[in-house]
């Protein structure tokens, strides 16, 4: 069975400070892991993905995530938040060769000026 847990329903940071959005997963097989972002009234945009290559993955807009198998985590980070980063972020797990892609509940990121 596979599942994904986003540990915070919302995170608030000040502009220019670091961002940490936490995600833990459970998967019976070697999964692929993704972070998607959804801006208000918009679709889902892929930020980055892990597919069993390098454990530190760099994505768009300065985001990166580190796959830690021992901790079953895939936390999303960014050194310095920008106002335009305010959005909903989804951690997603997809088993290798499987059909279903499972979404976490989402973390809403607020960025204060």
């Amino acid at each position: 069975a596979q599942s994904v847990t986003q540990l915070d329903s919302h995170v608030s940071v000040s502009e220019g400070t670091p961002v940490l959005l936490r995600c833990n997963y459970s998967s019976s097989y070697s999964p692929s892991l993704f972070w998607y972002v959804q801006h208000p009234n918009k679709g889902l945009q892929l930020l980055l993905k892990y597919t069993s290559a390098a454990t530190l993955v760099k994505g768009i807009n300065g985001f990166e995530a580190e796959f830690k198998k021992s901790e079953t985590s895939f936390h999303l980070t960014k050194p310095s938040a920008h106002m335009s980063d305010a959005a909903e972020y989804f951690c997603v797990v997809s088993p290798m060769g499987g059909f279903k892609t499972i979404f976490g509940a989402g973390t809403r990121l607020f960025v204060k000026a």
Partner: protein, 113 residues
Amino acid sequence: EPEVTQTPSHQVTQMGQEVILRCVPISNHLYFYWYRQILGQKVEFLVSFYNNEISEKSEIFDDQFSVERPDGSNFTLKIRSTKLEDSAMYFCASKAPANTEAFFGQGTRLTVV
């Protein structure tokens, strides 16, 4: 850049009516999906489709739902008799066989009144 296209962007329908949500996946992709997101809630898996048949479906995907790939390019979701609780954003996604990343459309917002 290739993208998944969904039409219409917004559909309003009366309770009990049938609706068809349309999606044009990326042309060389073979796996197709529908997800829904009720306002303020998480993204939920509905169904996956591969090789002209449903490969997996969730408990949400009951007899009132059906999917079809009528002409080799479109991928449709039909809701036979809509209920108020079907109001949601519906996302179509597709992925290529050698790549576990799913590409999402911009979504169709369905409002049942």
